[in-house]
């Protein structure tokens, strides 16, 4: 009897404290460093994007935004951790297109990409490039398509593993051609590009972050970029629309998420900080060198991001189901 009343009193105190300090905490937010989970290993392209943005967001928020790399299982382990985190704005997630595709790629996920998160804003759309070994016979995208169709049984298309951006783009490319190709999986883009440079495999579709250096160095041949606009770092490279393969439209978009239940005021503050970060010179120049650009200001907002995530989940679901590849 006495014990239960003590517990009840304690619970009431905690609840009261929660109610009283809740809104105040949201107004003062942030009062301590914020952890931004990157669900991939340090040094990768997503990590690079996150670190650049986190540094500039730290300035805007007046608190350090610390990157924590929680890699594994195509980004789902890190995402699951944030889904279960306290919704106080001190644990965030920066994830890429995998947030949308994992909803179909994984048949059992410990979280729901739409229901368990609050979108904060989009960060960048990293374009992808269709590239081939440097002695590949075709000279433009049309030639590539003709050659690949005619020699479908001899072509080897590399990708960086099930669910990787290069794998998604490869699926779209094969759908557009209407010809299934022999695909050769690698553990990551590094070894895939290495074998492409060495002429062991024929074609690959990968992010500009990974291919720009090799294209500029003349180690591989580039045919097209998969976004509506050309990229500044490779101005001579046509888009897939210009070059006659408009079906292959894909960008490795990145977004920031907070756990569901995070107060509106906190999400708004984070979104504002993200917009400030995206306009900084450092982010603009570094992104440009990587062959990408920050998203327009109106896309770095919770509403646009949430709607876009939903669209992307629906867009990829049939593509993945038709290919019949799952990651679990």
């Amino acid at each position: 009897m006495r014990l239960t009343s003590v517990i009840a009193a304690a619970a009431a105190t905690v609840l009261a404290a929660g109610v009283l300090t809740g809104p105040a905490a949201a107004q003062d937010y942030p009062t301590r460093p914020i952890t931004m989970v990157v669900p991939f290993s340090a040094g990768g392209p997503t990590d690079t994007v996150a670190r650049l943005v986190a540094q500039e967001m730290s300035g805007a928020l007046g608190q350090q935004v610390v990157i924590e790399n929680v890699g594994g299982a195509g980004g789902t382990i890190g995402a699951a951790r944030v889904a279960k985190a306290e919704p106080d704005g001190y644990t965030l997630l920066l994830h890429h297109i995998g947030m949308a595709t994992s909803a179909t790629l994984y048949r059992k996920l410990p979280f729901d990409a739409l229901a368990d998160f609050r979108a904060v804003g989009l960060v960048t759309d990293v374009p992808m490039t269709i590239v081939a070994r440097k002695d590949f016979p075709a000279d433009d995208l049309k030639g590539l398509v003709t050659h690949v169709k005619a020699n479908a049984d001899k072509i080897n298309m590399a990708h960086a593993g099930v669910g990787a951006a290069s794998h998604l783009c490869g699926m779209l490319f094969q759908e557009a051609l209407g010809t299934p190709l022999n695909t050769v999986p690698y553990k990551g883009t590094g070894p895939a590009i290495n074998d492409l440079v060495g002429g062991q495999v024929d074609i690959l579709c990968d992010q500009t972050t990974n291919t720009t250096g090799q294209i500029k160095g003349g180690a591989i041949k580039a045919y097209a970029v998969t976004t509506p606009d050309r990229v500044a770092s490779l101005p001579d490279l046509p888009t897939t629309v210009e070059a006659g393969l408009p079906e292959v439209q894909v960008a490795v978009w990145h977004g920031i998420y907070a756990p569901k239940g995070t107060p509106d005021a906190v999400v708004q503050k984070l979104s504002a900080a993200l917009q400030t970060a995206l306009q900084s010179d450092l982010v603009k120049t570094r992104f440009a060198e990587l062959g990408t650009a920050p998203v327009a200001q109106e896309r770095a907002t919770p509403d646009v991001h949430a709607a876009f995530l939903k669209e992307e989940i629906e867009r990829w679901r049939p593509v993945i189901q038709r290919a019949g590849t799952y990651a679990d």
């Binding site: 290993s41 040094g43 299982a73 695909t183 050769v184 440079v197 062991q200 972050t209 500029k216």
Partner: protein
């Protein structure tokens, strides 16, 4: 000649007070984390990445590179002193290095590791400068079939790592292959042997396995005999190697340097094989192979040199092709891109100051490591005098912290204790964990390249014998297997004749 102008440019850039300081800091931090069991360069570089923001690109890379090869040095210290390899490369060093320490010769073992590494680093650095770009092109001829054949060769060599029976070594290799196959299937993405645990989806972590099987198991074994002061049961015999030691080690250092330099250039992380290959070679060349596993100094000198030479030349694929051969190099790529340098073949021509500055800094860093490490030999050896009731809890704590930092996952810490008990059981039954670890590292690489080869060849196994490089490596593997099997076959025949 061009090369001298380039090197002059490099040394000019690397010798600025700021860059010298960063090189020193990197080498020192690397040594420290290498010495702390479980804490590896990957976690450290990840933690330090934000700091490099405020540095200029060359300084940042010099520091990070220093951490990388500093950790290789430091890793050998823990391997020798407490039988705990924190890095793939240090596994071999435990075999004879820790035996030397048990015989009171920890000092010479540490010193020869440092001197051998310095020699190897110097040679490899000049190789990088002289013919790096050419070699990188040549290494591109290495496709999936060649890697498969190379890894197969390494696996056969793993049997030599055991000083006990051949059958037990094979058993350990098979267990290692099995552990290595845990994770997602590379082609279909299907989970294998994960038992529904999400953390297993990318396989077991090397650090967890190595620190558990060697380190934690070693502590458990020592707890069994609380009175016995394992490492210090013999008086310490001198800190520096004798002339006889150096004479004995020098050929091993030369051979190790050669092996390490060649394997390091391969962009598919061939460097991982370097210390193993060197150990195998030394054991085969030795007049009395029975000394190996009981404190043979060549068994420390050769692999340590090979390891460091490989660490230096593994920068070649990164710097000349923009392709990271291993996880640490992938982090360097991240550091470069954050700095606005896009890795690729153009770095050498567009950014010669960065390219040659890095190369010059490697040599400076190696010299600094000797300066840092030789005086420390005495300190490390004295550390062993620390009572084990203080030393062991500290080591265990560092192991747990180190393993946790790799993925930030408590599952890894649990696995560490599981492997610790498994290692203890294996040691009790007379199984040696070194072949298991090598198989664990090589297995996934072998499988990947085997399946990739078949995919490229549309299932035709002739791809392995049609390509001359692959054929040569396969023949070498068969040859090595015969050499390994010959003594035991002959013994059996002798026994048969006797009856």
């Amino acid at each position: 000649m061009d090369i001298f102008a380039n090197l002059a440019l490099g040394f000019g850039a690397a010798f600025s007070p700021m860059n010298l300081g960063l090189c020193f800091v990197g080498a020192l931090v690397g040594t420290l984390i290498g010495v702390l069991p479980g804490l590896g360069p990957i976690a450290t570089i990840a933690i330090l990445l934000p700091i490099t923001f405020s540095l200029d690109p060359l300084g940042a890379l010099i520091m990070l590179a220093g951490i990388y090869y500093g950790a290789q040095y430091g890793g050998s210290t823990t391997a020798i002193l407490v039988n705990m390899p924190g890095e793939t490369s240090a596994v071999v060093t435990t075999l004879d290095g820790h035996q030397m320490a048990r015989q009171g010769r920890a000092g010479p073992a540490l010193a020869i590791a440092a001197l051998g590494s310095f020699f190897a680093g110097t040679v490899a650095t000049f190789l990088v400068a002289l013919i790096g770009p050419l070699l990188a092109q040549a290494a591109q001829a290495f496709g999936p079939p060649e890697y498969f054949a190379l890894m197969l060769f390494g696996l056969v060599g793993a049997t030599v790592l055991a000083s006990s029976s051949f059958v037990k070594a094979v058993a350990m290799i098979l267990v290692g292959l099995l552990l290595g196959s845990i994770g997602s299937d590379i082609e279909t993405g299907a989970p294998r042997l994960t038992f529904g645990i999400a953390q297993f989806a990318e396989g077991i972590n090397f650090t967890t396995l190595a620190v558990g099987l060697f380190g934690v198991a070693e502590i458990l074994r020592n707890l069994e005999n609380p009175e016995q002061r394992g490492v210090l049961d013999k008086p310490i015999k001198g800190l520096m190697p004798t002339w006889a030691d150096i004479r004995q080690s020098f050929p091993a250092v030369l051979r190790g340097t050669g092996i390490g330099s060649v394997l390091g250039i391969l962009p598919g992380n061939g460097a991982v094989l370097a210390p193993y290959a060197s150990y195998t070679l030394e054991k085969k060349l030795a007049r009395d192979p029975g000394r190996f596993g009981r404190g043979a100094i060549e068994g420390v000198a050769g692999p340590e040199s090979a390891n460091n030479a490989g660490a230096q030349t593994s920068f070649i694929p990164l710097l000349t092709l923009g392709i990271p051969p291993n996880a640490v190099m992938a982090m360097m790529v991240g550091a470069m891109t954050i700095q606005g340098i896009i890795p690729g073949p153009q770095v050498m021509t567009e950014n010669p100051r960065l390219f040659w500055g890095m190369i010059a800094s490697m040599w400076i860093g190696n010299a600094m490591l000797v300066i840092i490490n030789l005086p420390l030999v005495g300190v490390w050896v004295r550390l062993l005098r620390m009572p084990y009731r203080l030393l062991y809890p500290a080591i265990l704590l560092f192991c747990c912290v180190g393993v946790y930092t790799v993925n930030g996952s408590y599952v890894d810490v649990l696995m560490l204790s599981v492997f610790g008990f498994a290692g203890y059981g294996l040691a009790k039954l007379g199984f040696e964990p070194a072949p298991l670890l090598l198989a664990f590292v090589l297995g996934p690489l072998m499988e990947e390249n085997l399946r990739r080869s078949f995919l490229i060849a549309r299932g035709d196994p002739m791809i392995f014998v049609e390509r001359p490089l692959s054929l040569a490596l396969l023949l070498m593997a068969v040859g090595l297997l015969l050499i390994v099997l010959m003594p035991s076959l002959r013994r059996k025949r002798d026994e048969a004749f006797r009856e």
